[in-house]
Amino acid sequence: MMKSILSSGVALAALLAASAPALAQTEISWWHSMGGELGERLNAIAEDFNASQDDYVVVPSYRGEYEESMVNTIAAFRAGEQPHIVQVYEVGTGTMMAARGAVYPVYQLMEDHGSNFDPSAYLPVVTGYYTDTEGNMLSMPFNSSTPILYYNKDVFEAAGLDPEIAPATWEEMEAFSRQIIEAGAAECGFTMGYAATWLGTENLSALHDVPYGTLENGFSGLESELTFNHEIAVRLWENLADWQESGVFTYGGPAGGSDTGPLFYAGECAMVMNSSASRAGILANADFEVGFGMLPVFGDVDGAPQNSIIGGATLWVLSGHEDAEYEGIATFLNYLSSAEVQAAWHQATGYLPVTLAAYELSQEQGYYDANPGADIAINQINLNAPTENSKGVRFGNMPQIRTVLDEELQAVLSGDKTAQEALDSAVARGNQILRDFEAANN
């Protein structure tokens, strides 16, 4: 009954569509998580693509934050209503890769349908995150970012620091912060988003070239175990707890740290570390001169800084659609990887240029000369050739592991646990989560 009503509805819709002139066009649905300004930019890309040819129509639709959108996609897939393309955040990569039957790998799609697609045009540190062990690109890099340091030049000046020099080490972070607080230029030295996760363990491990987990940080197998309870993480977390007492550091909340922005804009904290994609937001909200720097490292660790790792999202193509539609998806992804589209997206949003050509084009256009600091993120991910420890982290159920890390850092900051206890406990809980994932995917 239900079904017949539904199918007659579909038939009716098809009839109505048939009378519209857009009959010959194949529709491609694209689910994404870009709200506000970013969403408008994304819609513009789809509109430009639609205007550039007559065969396909890309229909973007906002499906909530990354987490929600991923859950919606999975629910839609189970109901057989999945979109063609979905934007998935980097921590969802492990889950998507394990879902072999649900995903049409991009390299495969391009081999089957796209003639002139060249994966080597992409920056290795970006594609490294999304390729399998054989070097096949599974999803299409779209919006990648990496964390950097932002600082308040006015506060630096008021504290007698050189506003053109950003702190490069954690030792300097502390010294600069103390000088700022003593001078009364600000109440707090620095705050950071993703204090326990993307910055406080993932990038920390990569920059110091120490493993976050076994088996190449989880890249080469589901049996990997976490190892982020290393000396360097313990040292940072211990420091954060101490620094919190004296105001050198202020905790801005779990996950992305929703309070880090306000703390920095209000002039309460002199420095903030967060995604390079926060650049536009920070510049719009700060009524002072903003300086940019790379993430700090411990000055006495040899080989640091290695290179930072990325975050952000990629586009996954889902299985279960018609060949003609995949033809259209391949055409669209080819269009997306052109230097012009990439460069425009990069310059408008603050996300990294994901292809070399887009970076060079932005250089040619004089973007980096006109926007000092915009290239810090790019330089930081390209500091050195990525090693096993610095090409990224890839684990199933990664969102849950991040939640565990947030909780454990909170226990350190509230004085309930020492840094070593908290990180050991995070490893133990995280490994349990990994075993669950392994069991569910074997």
């Binding site: 987490e67 859950v71 999975i74 897939f77 189970r78 889950t95 394990a98 879902a99 072999r100 039957g101 649900a102 905790y251 801005g252 909340g253 779990p254 996950a255 309070d259 306000p262 703390l263 209000a266 309460e268 159920n397 969102p399 849950q400 939640t403 947030d406 909780e407 454990e408 909170q410 226990a411 900051l413 509230s414 309930d416 989560i433 669950d436 069991a439 569910a440 995917n441 074997n442």
Partner: protein
């Protein structure tokens, strides 16, 4: 006692009249609940490619999991404090309004307003008021030497969600208490006054016992409210943190199932939660109701 009895001549008419309600109950309650029971015995990857039947493994794992037991304890603390706080304040307000003669309607209307606020919005309001960086209350508390930071301090986070959740429920409780008070004949309290009973004595010996059916009803409603409907408040204020200090059972079902995509464990948790609420309701009807003075 006589009861009203309707007689249907058509055998199918009563069923037809019941059908819409039954259909809704089946589609929105029974069917999803049975799905939850089913998947609580399974282990499955998020996309549903590989499903294996694991008997009671999900349950045994949950019951041995310290974070689940923590959530159980937090929920107990949370539901008792929200219920006591919201019912206590509502009763106090109702008694006050009941004594007011002229502006009673105005007070009633004003006091009912918070009930119209969506849980998430209520959460956001309190989040703003208590925000350690930009909030008004931490600024005032600082003057009393209290360093408010619920992002790190678990007790403060619990106080925050308790206040936010109780505030929303006060209106509802208030309305019922006020109606209850107004249905108590004035002659009883007047007689007591003539015998020399003061307001406090009159309240505890006459009004409070006569209100007990209302109180009992509200107790049930409030416990259910805390168990299920405080999700929005917690999500908007603390997201269960810091370090699981405000992780209630229902919020844990969400974090494990929706955010963590661990469907088996999350289903087992919701089945347990359902069991807890059924048990509580049963105990309340079986034992508490006996002491209620109708």
């Amino acid at each position: 006692m006589q009861t009203k009895r309707s007689i249907f001549h058509n055998r199918w008419l009563p069923y037809a009249l019941l059908a819409p309600q039954l259909a809704i109950t089946i589609v929105f309650f029974i069917w999803p609940a049975s799905q939850a029971v089913k998947s609580s015995f399974e282990r499955e990857d998020p996309f549903g490619f590989r499903t294996s039947f694991v008997w009671f493994e999900n349950y045994t794992r949950i019951l041995a999991d310290p974070s689940y037991l923590n959530a159980l304890g937090r929920t107990a603390v949370f539901s008792v404090s929200v219920t006591v706080l919201s019912m206590g304040l509502a009763l106090l307000l109702a008694v006050c309004v009941d004594r007011v003669l002229r502006t009673r309607r105005l007070y009633t209307t004003l006091l009912v307003w918070p009930y119209a606020v969506a849980p998430v919005v209520a959460g956001v309001l309190w989040w703003f008021l208590f925000n350690p960086t930009i909030g008004l209350l931490p600024y005032i508390l600082d003057g009393f030497g209290i360093d408010w930071n619920h992002r790190v301090n678990g007790t403060q986070a619990m106080i925050l969600v308790t206040i936010a959740a109780a505030w929303k429920q006060i209106s509802y409780n208030f309305l019922f208490f006020l109606a209850g008070l107004q249905s108590i004949p004035a002659s009883l309290t007047e007689a007591a006054s003539i015998d020399g009973a003061g307001p406090a004595k009159r309240f505890w010996t006459i009004l409070f016992p006569l209100l007990s059916p209302t109180t009992f009803f509200l107790l049930l409603i409030n416990v259910n409210y805390v168990m299920f409907e405080t999700f929005g408040v917690i999500d908007a204020t603390t997201s269960g943190g810091p370090n699981q200090a405000t992780m209630t059972l229902v919020y844990k079902v969400y974090t494990d199932g929706v955010a963590g995509l661990n469907i088996g464990s999350s289903s087992a948790q919701s089945v347990l939660l359902m069991g807890i609420v059924i048990l509580l309701t049963f105990i309340q009807f079986r034992y508490v109701e006996r002491r209620v003075n109708y």
